[in-house]
């Protein structure tokens, strides 16, 4: 795994492509919104396994890598992101990432499941701009803060 092969970056690129033309169908705007949420979602999964990068050659490690990558749950992530957003423990760029993630989760649910929702080009393009900025600062944040955030948001404890 290298930074150039991040799935989160590729999902962002897919959203960019969907929004690059002059004609935007409702379906295209909905898919772009979903892509943006999943770009953010996969970034957290990627941060979860970041400490394991370079240790994925053996079968047991591959299993651990996949298992940890798949820990993130949409509902728990929302609850934990809310705690991060309201707190002061993590730096501003991580808190802003948490705020953006909760927004995009809600928008993605509307885009994927709500038949009466009408998507607007400018709203989705602004969501793209925000997602680009938030992902950039997420990957530029200190690795320790990024890992702490990913573990808090992604890993269940015994009370969950």
């Amino acid at each position: 795994m290298s930074p150039t092969s991040r799935l989160s970056d590729e999902l962002l690129e897919v959203a960019r492509d969907r929004l690059s033309g002059s004609i935007h169908s409702e379906a295209n705007l909905r898919r772009a919104t979903s892509d943006l949420y999943y770009a953010v979602f996969h970034a957290v999964s990627e941060a979860l396994v970041e400490p394991l990068v370079g240790h994925t050659s053996g079968e047991p490690f591959k299993e651990a890598y996949v298992s940890i990558y798949r820990q993130l749950d949409h509902g728990l992530a929302e609850k934990r992101c809310k705690i991060v957003a309201q707190g002061k423990e993590l730096p501003e760029e991580i808190r802003r990432f948490a705020k953006h993630m909760t927004s995009m989760k809600e928008k993605r649910v509307q885009a994927d499941y709500h038949p009466l929702e009408t998507m607007q080009v400018s709203v989705v393009k602004n969501d793209l701009q925000m997602t680009e900025a938030r992902l950039k600062s997420f990957w530029e944040a200190p690795p320790g803060d990024r890992t702490a955030f990913a573990y808090f948001v992604g890993l269940k404890n015994q009370r969950d």
């Binding site: 509902g75 705020k99 953006h100 649910v109 709203v123």
Partner: protein, 94 residues
């Protein structure tokens, strides 16, 4: 509840004017919903006139302020749609 919503709408409008400048903010509306996780969601639509595009930093600043304000309404999660007035005009023309 109605007065709470009116109050937060007014507060957010004032914050939007601070961040973006009064001349760029055309309208701001807020609706309250509850999502499948049981969280209260404040869906905020900020309509802006697009002579100057919004920057990611401006939008992030406004979202920070919206989070602070949303604490006063059932510890809600704010979700902001930044809507270009041109889109509204196009919808009206359809």
């Amino acid at each position: 509840m109605m007065s709470d919503m009116q109050e937060i709408t007014n507060e957010l409008r004032a914050k939007a004017n601070e961040v973006f400048g009064e001349s760029r903010v055309s309208d701001l509306s807020v609706t309250r919903t509850v999502n499948q996780e049981g969280s209260v969601i404040l869906r905020i639509t900020l309509t802006y006139s697009s002579e100057v595009a919004l920057t990611a930093e401006e939008m992030a600043q406004f979202l920070d302020l919206a989070w602070s304000e949303a604490q006063n309404v059932e510890s809600a999660i704010p979700v902001v749609d930044f809507l270009d007035l041109t889109d509204v005009t196009n919808i009206a023309a359809e």
